[in-house]
Symmetry: C2
Subunit: 307 residues, 2 copies
């Protein structure tokens, strides 16, 4: 039995997970952040509630958007925590280890045991969201904590768009959902006739899926957006693959729900053609991530198995 | 006791190496390639000669420029071998395992045990030569063979210079010794007054060190070359560091002999400023590789210790 807690934008979700990654029970509380001490207390309360039937666990895993190192939170992007010794605070309430992971790493751990990475030893997840979160498991061990991969910050275009990290031209500026939305808007500006406008109006705004929806109906401008987006996605993916050469890279996040022939198929083609494996060595497979929203709980719960 | 064989451009060098990385004895033969079978026979002969005093070893390690996978050579860049089952051929002559590594990986192994990587668990060597060879040791194990890092093929400038790998704009097109020489020539073309011309004439040609020699004498054009070269080197280095976040990256190859204040110091500044560690997590140290020409033998000899 394992406990995983997923710290989302608005909720804390804690789950009791069995050895096969099945979520047996979930507790949800709204995320009402009143400082690190009370946050640690909330985590302990959630843990106690989850264990109400007397099950025992070796540790509690928690996944956060941000960066962690050992038992400390270096920073989070949704709540104001910086350099917080979270495990230490948690242990004031409960005598259990608290294992910390960032959300990209938790996604990788979940997929590694229960999804697209099953059966591999060298595996990565690329989550396309506000940014690009990358989690790597190499030789069966998570590159987590202080060495968590920040492959979203491979520079793709020197002197390009300013990134949140302070550099210019990072991969995530182009190939995240945010990048896709910006690209869609740029193309819309020059293509007033495009179906993109009608779909965006129906949705109320431009989203990551806007271009894919219009492209499915054959809209030329949208097809152009999809092609350019996939090229940007492939560019960083090939660099990442050339550095660590995993068996499988799984693509996750909302954008990954796009039709296969518009996203993953052209991505696979470019990767096969451009990655170094065309000259020999391991060829990396590109799959879709499988677990969706459950990945946060499962990945946090299984952190102790890959550390 | 270990045996390492370094396959260079013109010679085979075999060394008997003790557990501390001390080379006790070296045998050199000219590289006269007459096909894979006779090449395997030469390796066996060299091994027998090295073991003339009756020492025993568990395996023979060999480092080659090219790509390997398990006991097979996928291709080499200096001799015509493609998909050669070298270990199998070797075993027809000698009942010893033959461990294969590419030269960049052997450099990393050697530095890991006896040079700039001593005491680390996550380590990389970036060798600046004709191309950029990268060897990675993560969690104490070599990313070798079919998963050997090809970080020289991180794309740095999309649509840039055509690379030998078939892609455009790879890091090694800019930051290898070859890239430095091309850049030096480009700047020389626009700066007829520069000291670069006189130094190149003295050397007989433009070399990797030409720009550094002129820069040391305060030549403005040469200083410009050095600055731009270091920026290119840093660009790929930061991307590599952001992906795997090693403790130490050692810079090797002829170019690494450049004065510290012109190469490694500005490189360290850019890496400290631009890598993700400025926001938290492990900061990677940049050191100079220490072992020079001995790295090939020592790294090949120690391959079995990191596999």
């Amino acid at each position: 039995m394992y406990i995983g807690i997923d710290v989302g934008g608005t909720n804390l979700k804690a789950g009791l997970v069995d050895g096969n990654g099945k979520i047996l029970r979930v507790q949800r509380v709204p995320l009402d952040f009143q400082g690190p001490e009370s946050f640690a207390g909330m985590l302990a309360d959630l843990t106690r509630e989850i264990l109400q039937n007397g099950e025992s666990v070796e540790y509690v895993g928690i996944g956060l958007p941000g960066a962690v190192s050992g038992g400390d939170v270096l920073f989070t992007t949704n709540i104001p925590m910086e350099n917080v010794p979270l495990e230490q605070l948690f242990r004031r309430h409960l005598d259990l280890p608290l294992l910390l992971g960032n959300d990209a790493d938790c996604a990788a751990v979940a997929e590694f045991f229960c999804g697209a990475g099953k059966g591999t030893q060298d595996f990565g997840v690329v989550t396309l969201g506000t940014g690009i979160g990358v989690g790597l498991i190499l030789d069966g061990k998570l590159r987590g904590g202080a060495v968590s991969s920040e492959a979203g910050h491979i520079v793709m275009r020197r002197g390009g768009e300013l990134c949140n990290c302070g550099r210019y031209g990072c991969w995530e500026r182009y190939a995240s959902a945010t990048g896709l939305i910006r690209l869609t808007k740029e193309v819309m500006d020059c293509r007033p006739e495009s179906l993109l406008h009608r779909i965006a109006a129906q949705q109320g705004c431009v989203e990551g899926k806007t271009a894919f929806m219009a492209a499915e109906q054959g809209d030329e401008a949208a097809l152009e957006v999809c092609r350019e987006y996939v090229e940007d996605l492939a560019d960083g993916a090939v660099s990442l693959i050339n550095v660590v050469r995993p068996e499988v890279i799984a693509i996750g996040g909302g954008v990954a729900a796009a039709p296969e022939y518009l996203l993953l198929e052209p991505l696979r083609e470019i990767v096969a053609r451009e990655s170094f494996s065309s000259h020999g060595g391991r060829a990396t497979k590109i799959l879709r991530a499988e677990l969706g929203n459950d990945a946060g709980i499962i990945g946090a719960a299984f952190l102790g198995r890959v550390m």
